[in-house]
């Protein structure tokens, strides 16, 4: 399966004008297949600019993006080709729904790839089932459904392309807790059943801590931390200093430490915190 690599990636908006702004600078990293990656960072830290490079939506000012070793911006054909492999779900994707029926909206991508009717139907059905869209909704207008349902239809439209790499920019923004849980469950399900690589941008540290195997932290256009949740959240002070939240459980563990109860292992999920306190009671340090 595919590997995507960024090499010295730099992007400057409005270059040569008074509004010139370098959004990301000299980013090099590699994303092996099958990882679940969380990208965190303050608004304006460059994370959205970075992911838009991964399917050639914007071109680097300098540096390269490689997909299985070849430059995705080499020519028009490769730019088009990359979008079959890398699916990108924007922020508030429900604003992009436009078709008359839910079915037609989900089918839009596969249709443009000139698949047969049967193939399209199979992909739409599969994508709808991944995102929990009931068959009876298929002929309804997407515009009359709830916010959470619309969001899932928009995600289904990308999943119908069967991307090997699925990237989502704040997929739970603006949803209520139940809506968030459903969407994240859908995404995990897709990853589990297809083995796809998943990259999510999120402001919710608790979600990232719980789901991601690897966390990449952006600040001021650069990657400042990159590692497992253990490694990243053990740097809680650093995260706070760049204006990021830390998981509530990590904050509580820090407060306990301040009061003299040193739990002795990095805590970043609720379950981890409960276990660490119980272990402390038994005199163990995990």
């Amino acid at each position: 399966m595919a590997v995507i690599t960024a090499e010295n990636l730099t992007h400057t908006y409005s270059a040569g004008t008074p509004f010139e702004k370098t959004a990301i600078e000299n980013i090099s990293l590699s994303i092996p297949s099958g990882q679940f990656i969380g990208i965190i960072g303050h608004t304006g830290s460059g994370k959205s600019t970075f992911i838009q490079h991964l399917n050639a939506l914007i071109k680097p000012t300098s540096g390269k993006v490689l997909f299985d070793g070849s430059d995705i911006n080499a020519d028009k054909v490769s730019r088009r080709e990359i979008r079959r492999h890398v699916g990108l779900v924007f922020q508030y994707p429900e604003y992009q729904l436009f078709e008359e029926t839910v079915y037609a909206d989900i089918a839009f991508g596969p249709k443009n790839m000139n698949f047969s009717e049967d193939e399209i139907r199979e992909r739409v059905t599969e994508a709808a089932s991944f995102t929990g869209i009931a068959p009876e909704l298929m002929e309804r207008s997407p515009l009359e459904l709830s916010g959470g349902q619309k969001r899932r239809i928009a995600i289904a439209g990308v999943i119908a392309m069967r991307p090997e790499i699925l990237i989502l920019d704040e997929p739970t923004a603006g949803l209520d807790p139940a809506g968030c849980r459903t969407i994240l469950g859908n995404i995990c399900d897709y990853k589990e059943k297809t083995g796809a690589t998943v990259i999510i941008i999120s402001h919710n540290m608790d979600d990232v801590a719980r789901l991601a195997q690897r966390i990449i932290v952006f600040d001021g256009g650069s990657v400042v931390l990159d590692g497992t949740p253990d490694q990243v959240f053990s740097q809680a002070e650093k995260l706070i200093s760049i204006g990021l939240d830390i998981p509530a459980s990590t904050a509580l563990a820090l407060e306990l430490k301040r009061q003299g109860v040193e739990l002795g292992c990095p805590v970043y999920t609720h379950e981890g915190l409960v276990e660490a306190v119980l272990a402390y009671r038994e005199g163990k340090t995990c």
Binding site: T43, S146, G147, D176, G243, E255, Q259, H270, V277
Partner: protein, 277 residues
Amino acid sequence: MSIICFNEVHFTYPGSETETLKGINLNIEEGSFVAVLGHNGSGKSTLAKHMNSILVPDSGTVTVAGIDTADENRILDVRSTVGMVFQNPDNQIVANVVEEDVAFAPENLGIPSEEIRTRVDDALARVGMTEFARHAPHLLSGGQKQRVAIAGVIAMRPRIIVLDEPTAMLDPQGRREVVSTVEHLCRDTGITAVLITHHMDECVNADRLIVMSAGQIIADGKPSEVFSQVELMDKEGLTVPETVRLMYDLNSRGFSLPLGVTGMKDCAQFVKTALMN
């Protein structure tokens, strides 16, 4: 004294088969900071829209500062008593300069221009946006835009401000800015604040927390009292603060900690004491 009173309020949207508000009785004290928590579809936004006559009850009554919101002759009085802030910051800003946007409502109220100047300066200071007075609103962050929207409302000097999910589209920093602005407004100026949200962490410092589900109020009390009802909150699919959740789970493993603790320091103190014994 109660400034907002709901008396047996029922409401059904036209064409809908189910009632969105199923007999709401609610009194809100003047000067208090009240948070309303609930899922999408729980009726919390419908409740908010009844507070300034955007919607009026099918049966029952809503009064604000003693005015019946269903009285068509008093609608302007209702609207100048209750200011609303909505979810999407981009939909609420009308002018090209921050201070002009804040001046929009007082201008429409026919207030003399020197008085408008005072009100605009005061409103921008209250939300911490004075230095942006002459900036273009579209270049501000989401949190800053919402604070401008709040300034626009308080420049009308309403007695009540109702915020309908003002933080849903903001990042964590923007959310903190908006919630702390609302809290300070309420504490410093005595304005009554009603904050509709689905983020439980925004409710922790409120005087009172109301939880809605399926058109009814299912919990009402101090945030610490409401959050300590962990089973109820779980059943509703709502989250409780990590402090409460930790104590709840530790209790099921042999600890006996109080549940109504929402402060990190206090929570850590209790856990520490329990561990030392």
